[in-house]
Symmetry: C2
Subunit: 295 residues, 2 copies
Amino acid sequence: MSEAAQLIQHDRSHQISSRDRLPAFPHTVSHPGTRAVSARGSSVMDDSTDLHDGFSPFQGFQSLQDPQQRMLEMMRTVRELVQPASKVVRPGDVLYHSGLPFNTVFLINSGAYKLVSRSLDGREQIVSLKFRGDWLGFSGIAHGRHACDAVAMDTGNVSIIPYATLLEGCVRHPELMAVVHEAMSTEIRRERESLMSVCTLASQARVAEFLCAWARSMAQRGLRADELTLRMTRADLGNYLGMTLETVSRCLSRLNREQLIRFGERGRRQISIPDLARLEQYVISGSSARTARLQ
Amino acid sequence: MSEAAQLIQHDRSHQISSRDRLPAFPHTVSHPGTRAVSARGSSVMDDSTDLHDGFSPFQGFQSLQDPQQRMLEMMRTVRELVQPASKVVRPGDVLYHSGLPFNTVFLINSGAYKLVSRSLDGREQIVSLKFRGDWLGFSGIAHGRHACDAVAMDTGNVSIIPYATLLEGCVRHPELMAVVHEAMSTEIRRERESLMSVCTLASQARVAEFLCAWARSMAQRGLRADELTLRMTRADLGNYLGMTLETVSRCLSRLNREQLIRFGERGRRQISIPDLARLEQYVISGSSARTARLQ
DNA sequence: CGCTTGATTGAGTGCACTCAATCGGGGTGG
DNA sequence: CCACCCCGATTGAGTGCACTCAATCAAGCG
């Protein structure tokens, strides 16, 4: 058994109640080959050379497929070339702890995860939220130790990929390397979007944009985008968005009052978005220059 | 203090060249595709050419402890395996524009650079500052187009590395791939540190931490850490730190009044830090829970 | 049933923002 | 040369948004 599995610990002290009626098998490791590999072998990512010849009509090579197909293709590529073990996680499970030696990354098959950074003086910050198709652990490559905690917010499943295995795979299969580079590049982009949001938007617009981003993200994964089920407390939300839990609550109430969102029947963590375009419009109109403009 | 804790420390890299009398050309675009190698650029480049032989291809440079040595080693590896052209940039030069096709990354030999993201509705955000040893362009991999502008804030020199070439190099030289992965991982870490700073620190502590990070980074490169020369306006600073330029100015004045920093004789962009430990202590004490705590 | 945890809402405060005036240095032209 | 302007930086006055503190409510659970 890999040391990766040993790193995974089950911490049930912070379980989100009532949401896991699924039978959980925390220590079950399933095998990847079970999913049939599609016959059409040549994926779009194979040919990495023609991507960079300087011209692309749309979004580069991505435009050849919709994002969901691309994600599936990516996951298929990884499964095929790395053949990783996988693992079921439950709410509160920690995939890796900040400071522990890095030797494994994870590819998310399902579930929702938060990455929590801690400063030396004890400040905690949720720096990222991750979902199906996202990778976990890249930040640990740099110094050989994980830079944050990865905590499952929901029941889910991750592929376990020893980093050494991944590197070997990248050497033998350049298309896998392209996939990994792209995933890391995406992660850099996302962090920057968070920073932009926190730095330039007032609190209510920030909450609104968060909901928009979540909705878009769900749509991109083929899930329904008009009915969000937040799997986090107001405290988590506030921490991630750089505001207090009370402010989050007030902003959501105000958005609800203004009909931009609607609370679901099954608790106020369920939020429906009647008109996503209108919510996005609100973000734009609310983006008064909150900080210093450039030039 | 544990080894792990040290590894997590902030290390934004900053490097400043000493001359500053050059005129700025704010909208000059230099073309990365032109392989113009300037002979006189060698003055700013590290021209050590001796090889280093022994490091594990899959471990990157983690075995080397001294960060400065590690950086030099990394740059040497890239020069050796990729043999990139290089290019002199001047203040205001734009290495790449957001939205333009991505096909090149850059490795910074000298100078200071800012990465500016723009949202659809026109908000601008300096998302990162880059210096010697940092890479530029990784965020463009994901969608085949650059995600931000890269603007030189000072005279400098960058190595020009076509991404296709880099990929080929990675396939043939696993140690190069490790270098690239490590660089991207570092970039992810840095963005998260920025987010943490913006989300958890009050404005004055945020400014203080920015200065601390700068100073540490100088020290890490063997340069003097008690005399900083900021190469950006208060507006840039404020944008990067998520506050207005007036607030930046007030915070600096207050830090000066409290003897935590001292303004230099050559203008108020020059800042000396009499006691770095005391400044760092101030950051910690000023880190009152500004946003929601977790659990 | 009471306990606990999470969410909401209210009241009041303070920090950081906006607006605005001033200052200083560097460059330019009369 | 000075006068002038422009730009960046500083400082002040006043305001408002988001924070703190605190009470209440709702839901889940032993």
